[in-house]
Symmetry: C2
């Protein structure tokens, strides 16, 4: 039989009961006599009937769908966040839909209604925040404030403290400060830094931690050891090569702290092209601990940011309704890309 378009009416008719009764056996709520229940179930099976989650949502005001906003999925880290979140969401009975950042800070009127965050009646929203220039941060604040009337929101990533939302945030400044300190302990004095952006207002930035680390070690802070990029391997290669090109070899950095593993990979390539030996001539620290980090040569020392866990925890926090702000877990993973310096 397996009629495609069966509705609750078809089942009711077939079983000789009201749709109310069908609804009851569907949700196992209310009481139904064993015998009617059997008849209804038989009809459901015969029709291969599947109640429309849409119609159900229409009444229950729930879509069982969570929204998620990621800067870009192309970066494998974000795929990890999404995977972790998606698994946990499914576990708790929800689906996740991805929305682009511009649906939050861009002009949403251009998007068809079916794609608009506000129209989708989401049950919640997870936003991965990265360093944003002040103007964008402002627009984000505004949209978030509007959206929060409709649905719970959780922020993840590097969340500036002026966002007053439940959040799970990496203490990036502190992490970076510790990275500097690790390199200092290895004897390095010319430590370069390739970060994301300097524009954000918040204090919890990599470059802030970098500067702090330098200060702690009473090392001078040279502008030529600092660079910024968008975070791809190509960017990283260009950034480090830029330093090489602008400095006499005697002043080249002996260590570099990279925004992420992608950038670190680019640094490895740049160093190789300059004939440097790794890690003897240059130490490199990445971030994110991509699955390929142990397979690079030298195997990359990195920071495991447990992004899959972050995604899962974001969903848990969102669905729990709690209003707390948490630090994201992370951990240094020492491999072979950092060497001792005499």
């Amino acid at each position: 039989m397996s009629n495609s378009g069966s509705t609750i009416y078809d089942i009711a008719a077939e079983a000789g009961v009201s749709i109310t009764t069908v609804s009851r056996v569907l949700r196992g709520s209310g009481s139904v006599s064993a015998e009617t229940k059997k008849r209804v179930e038989a009809a459901i099976a015969r029709h291969n009937y599947h109640p429309s989650a849409i119609a159900q949502g229409m009444t229950s005001k729930k879509t069982y769908t969570l929204g998620m906003i990621l800067p870009k999925l192309l970066n494998p880290n974000y795929a990890m966040i999404f995977t972790g979140a998606n698994d946990e969401a499914r576990h708790q009975g929800h689906l996740i839909s991805l929305f682009p950042l511009r649906s939050l800070i861009g002009d949403e009127t251009e998007a068809p209604p079916a794609l608009s965050l506000a129209n989708r009646r989401l049950d919640g929203l997870i936003v991965c925040v990265e360093y944003l220039p002040p103007r964008q941060a402002e627009r984000l604040q505004k949209t978030l404030k509007e959206l929060r009337q409709y649905m719970p929101i959780v922020l993840i990533g590097c969340v500036p403290s002026y966002f007053k939302y439940p959040a799970i945030s990496y203490p990036m400044a502190d992490i970076t400060r510790q990275a500097v300190s690790y390199l200092v302990g290895l004897g390095h004095e010319r430590i370069a830094f390739i970060g994301g952006t300097e524009e954000d207002q918040d204090e919890n930035r990599r470059d802030v931690g970098y500067l702090e680390g330098l200060k702690e070690a009473q090392l001078p802070c040279t502008a030529s050891y600092r660079a910024f990029c968008r975070g791809t391997a190509e960017d990283g290669e260009a950034a480090l090569e830029g330093m090489f090109a602008s400095l006499l070899p005697a002043y080249w950095p002996t260590a570099v702290i990279a925004l992420n593993d992608l950038v670190a990979m680019g640094c490895i390539a740049a160093a190789r092209k300059r004939g440097l030996k790794l890690p003897e001539d240059l130490s490199i620290i990445g971030c994110d601990n991509l699955y390929c980090a142990p397979y690079l040569s030298p195997a990359l020392t990195s920071i495991d940011t447990r992004q899959q866990e972050l995604g899962a925890n974001a969903v848990k926090l969102l669905l729990s309704g709690e209003e707390k702000r948490l630090d994201a877990e992370w951990e240094f993973v020492i491999r072979e890309s950092c060497g001792r310096r005499e």
Copy 2:
């Protein structure tokens, strides 16, 4: 004002018109006098009203949501497929929801209704097919047949020819045959193969192409040069180490064709641990051309499977309604991991 729960009734009341009229200006259909239109738009703006895509879908029978089934998103390739598909879908006004493979071949009754494929009233479904053991393939066939009554379906990946659906499929047998032939041209005679599974019934399998390639070159086919794994780097390392352990060094393969780049990375690690020089002692070919392939040492020769493009094309095919079967694009990317053998 920005009332959160505004409905079309609120707007109608505010503008002093019927909901029909509001609906008309919302969709820009039917004719509305310039003056009423203005009034309605003002009310919409004042209420910050966003029509519910759910309710709209209720009438239009459309959810503007596509389903996608990927074996596992953790493998970065799948993230690429998803990204490509998601972008194209959005471009065409749709969202994509990810479902696990078990919602197709497993017991769906365990899943809450909101997560069931059949209940979600999707506008279409993309299924990424991998080698499946016969029993699973059978169940997949059955579920697909049922689902197809409700929504268009497109299959992607390595789609066995007995699936009669619109599809975009990699000619894996042929690709692998060409890989063998490339290595033979380089002078290799002991070519190993680490594949996914041998269980599938279809002819379009890597191992079939591998055997064909060997035959073409009149090379013997030794069971000890063939291994199978699930596709992670650890698997690859274990598989190749297994060959080393079971063979006298004089019989070690001089080249290996890996299921994918992850497995290839594992092979590099295994070879290094055995003290082999790459590519002098061992040539390696991966598959997928992961973003890190050029940064491995040796830079990995691989097959670019353009997975992002695949995802986008799958959406295009699905939404076009065409019933055709296409070959997926691919391309050899020669780098440094394959050496000439005398």
